[in-house]
Amino acid sequence: MKQLAIISGKGGTGKTTVTSSFAVLANNAVVADCDVDAANMHLLLNPQILSKHDFYGLSVASIDNQLCTECGLCKKHCRFDAINDNFCVESFQCEGCGVCKYVCPSDAISMETNKAGEAYESITRLGLLLAHAKLGIGEDASGKLIAVVREIAIRMAEENKADLILIDGPPGTGCAVIATLTGVDLALIVTEPTISGIHDLERALEVTSHFNIPALVCINKYDINEEMAREIEAMSNSHNAMIVGKLPFNKIPTEAMIVGKTVVEYASNTFTSNIEEMWSKVKEVLKL
């Protein structure tokens, strides 16, 4: 079983458009939506939830003000600035380390584990299996939830003898991206020929080399700035990342999204044949 992660660095370059089309084109893939704090794949694939798993993130401190003497030790030791002047815990700030509870001389602090989100095993309207999740608003631990989604996807793929897991990744280069990339066979970076696209592509390529993951590049909207598109090609070459596709600036992705379809279902034209060609190249690299 192979794992392909679709990432981008910069957000909004077309990761989900590409991943959802690959999901339709691949015969036997499980899809994992790892952009857990802004998941969109379900809007195109309309999943029916088969089973649901509660996700518990890090615990959060809670101060019993009946017991608290306001000695200030917790506040002094908290490195995350999570205890305010009224000796209440700012739950958004708390990272659940437990230091405040440890130093409290009055035993006024407890650590409470709350449900931080849900992970789902689903079957989509196309019969494809989808692992996805919803992180609670303002919750920490998106990296941990991504690991849960990936575990679910691997189990579903094993049970159904799928040969590929298609992972729709988050933007950025930090915690969430690292959790998405760990142990994948290949990364496809979707970029665009803009000054931010190219800057973020370079950082994304540095991340994939840092973790020794081979990378491919897709240039979306390549025709809004062809000179910049050539720069992207040169940069990708110098990082040994093959350009597997160039997609034109087109309204089709938005139109398809509005009717809740993937682009390869919605239309059949040069845009979609470009995606199909890109998919065959990716398949070849993955040796599927």
Binding site: S8, K10, G11, G12, T16, D35, V36, D37, A38, N40, L43, L58, S59, H77, R79, F80, D81, F92, Q93, E95, G96, C97, G98, V99, Y102, V103, L135, I137, G138, E139, D140, S142, G143, P170, P171, G172, T173, G174, C175, A176, I178, E192, P193, T194, I195, S196, G197, H199, D200, R203, V207, H210, I224, N225, M228, F249, T254, M257, I258, G260
Partner: protein, 277 residues
């Protein structure tokens, strides 16, 4: 006054708004808090100086003093410590720097040392104070770097914070203590879905918010209906315009080139000021 520019979905135009707004006003401080992908200076083209290397404290274990009791390993919530038969190992990249292990160690075998997670650069001049943080490649600790970056906020100025995408910890860290949040969205189902999540965040944090519809075009009115139902004002619309997209691709802030836009950004700012007051 602190104004954050955020969105749920990436690529909706946060940086475009933050930069164009900053360039339309006087006496501004702009903090680019998207430390994983800091892009604002690609549009400002300012020469920057490094002001600080940012590190978090991670434990260092003195093997001669450590008797492998395992108290630190049991205390660590992040799996950053592991007990081997005759040694405790530290996995620095997992450590959040809470300092708990040092507190619980009965042998006083733990000291702390800095681990570099990124750096902060600044530039000033032309009425614009600019700072950004850059997270080291392969590092997961965006939030501590954002927190450090926010320490440079100059309360005498109007401060604009360009937030990272999503609704998780880096975005929350950026939004903490701001007076107003501009949410940038696009009129698509993905844009709306992620806007709803971002609105939940600002509601939970009790931050007043207004919405900018970027790449505004006919064909998907659900975003407006949502704003109406939530009673959140639409404070600006930026049209779907290939010229703006092309300028963006080259790193040109469109308000510098297209007439009338600086006034629109200033009017929006006045509107925000009225709402806050």
């Amino acid at each position: 006054m602190k104004i954050a520019v955020a969105s749920g979905k990436g690529g909706t135009g946060k940086t475009t708004v933050a930069v164009n707004l900053a360039l339309s006003l006087q006496d501004i401080q702009l903090l680019d808090c998207d430390v994983e992908e800091p892009n604002a200076n690609l549009f400002l083209q300012k020469s920057v100086d490094r002001v600080e290397d940012v590190s978090i404290l991670v434990p260092q274990i003195d093997d001669d003093l450590c008797n492998c009791c395992g108290d630190c390993v049991a205390f660590c919530q992040y799996n950053a410590l592991a007990a081997l038969p005759n040694k405790v190992m530290v996995f620095e990249s997992l450590c959040h720097g809470c300092g708990g292990c040092k507190l619980v160690c009965p042998e006083k075998a733990i000291t702390e040392t800095g681990r570099n997670i990124g750096y902060i650069e600044k530039s000033s001049g032309n009425g614009l104070d600019f700072y950004h943080g850059i997270l080291c490649i392969g590092d997961a600790m965006a939030s501590p770097l954002i927190q450090r970056l926010k320490c440079y906020a100059d309360e005498n100025k109007t401060i604009i914070l360009d937030a990272p995408p999503g609704t998780a910890c880096p975005m929350i860290t950026t939004l903490k203590d701001v007076d107003y949040c501009i949410l940038v969205t696009e009129p698509t189902p993905f844009g709306l879905h992620d806007l709803k999540l971002a609105v939940e965040v600002v509601e939970k944090m009790s931050i007043p918010a207004g919405i900018i519809i970027n790449q505004d075009a006919e064909g998907y009115s659900e975003v407006e209906e949502f704003c109406k139902s939530k009673n959140i004002p639409i404070i600006l619309r930026i049209p779907y315009d290939r010229r703006i997209a092309e300028m963006y691709s080259k790193g040109i802030p469109f308000a510098e080139e297209l007439p009338g836009w600086k006034e629109k950004f200033r009017e929006m700012y006045e509107q925000i000021k009225r709402i806050i007051e």
